[in-house]
Assembly symmetry: D2
Homo-oligomer: 94 residues x 4
């Protein structure tokens, strides 16, 4: 049931990742230029928020593809394994 991401999710995710990569480099520049540490902290918080919303995008896609397929499976072990994994990654959310 390890399906891949939907194409439009992939495109969205790649766009966001490119933006996040730029933001990470931006923080590095801010530190190099001795920018005020509070502005650095705020920028790090913004990146974390962006990653949080990317995580949600990936999770939603996972629910609509792999989880949905696993739940349709006739093999009860597939269904249970998928839900167990789901619970695990939700546990890793903040």
């Amino acid at each position: 049931m390890r399906l891949s991401m939907k194409n439009d999710t992939k495109a969205k995710a790649q766009k966001r990742l490119a933006r996040i990569e730029g933001q990470v480099r931006g923080v590095s520049r801010m530190i190099e230029e001795d920018r005020y540490c509070v502005d650095v902290v705020r920028q790090i918080q913004a990146i974390r928020a962006a990653l949080g919303s990317l995580e949600k995008l990936a999770l939603d896609d996972h629910l609509e593809t792999c989880v949905d397929a696993a739940l349709s499976s006739d093999d009860i072990r597939n269904r249970k394994a998928m839900v167990e994994e789901l619970v695990q990654i939700f546990g890793g959310r903040k």
Copy 2:
């Protein structure tokens, strides 16, 4: 009181940022290669955790430099402004 980061904090932060940038590019590659979405989610969670600990590093440095200096200031307005700002950025933490 807008002092810059201590040199060893800067060095540490830059090292971590370089690593985080690599991790972000890694996620992009994982998506391109159609890797299992749960692994993508886990990797995003790891990056968020790394950013969280970088944020803590920057905050601790800020406390030891700018906040400490502001609290030594004779101008009560400096002291209050610094603490207000501190409360604000703590509010942005998760």
Copy 3:
């Protein structure tokens, strides 16, 4: 699939709830006695942590009873509805 909690989970949960109720009353007393606000805040944080762990207890029981039963169901709609609900309550976790 709306099974009830296992008996030992119920007993554990009731014990914890009694303790939490006492803690809530304790905070009320602290405020009445003009106790230092930082101690009040810390006590509130302790209660939230206790509720967080009670929530985990209830969720784990739910996974072992209702979710497990739903996943064994032959009706795919039951399976999907249960997982949807699960995702919803995980979304409410902090």
Copy 4:
């Protein structure tokens, strides 16, 4: 600088605590009556949110009373001790 809470904050806090105590007893009743565990989980989440907002109320009062007074103190040690404590309790927030 260990001032007590402002009177209107106290009144507000007591009112909320009475409500929270009722909610905690409500969860106990729900479990006794074998109510659906998802509803139990949701109710626990609601109580945690109520406590989170009570914590914010207490913190805001603390900032306006004790922290404000400490920052006006001529003794730099008072000022630093108060901010250290503040950072500590913010660290305990979720």
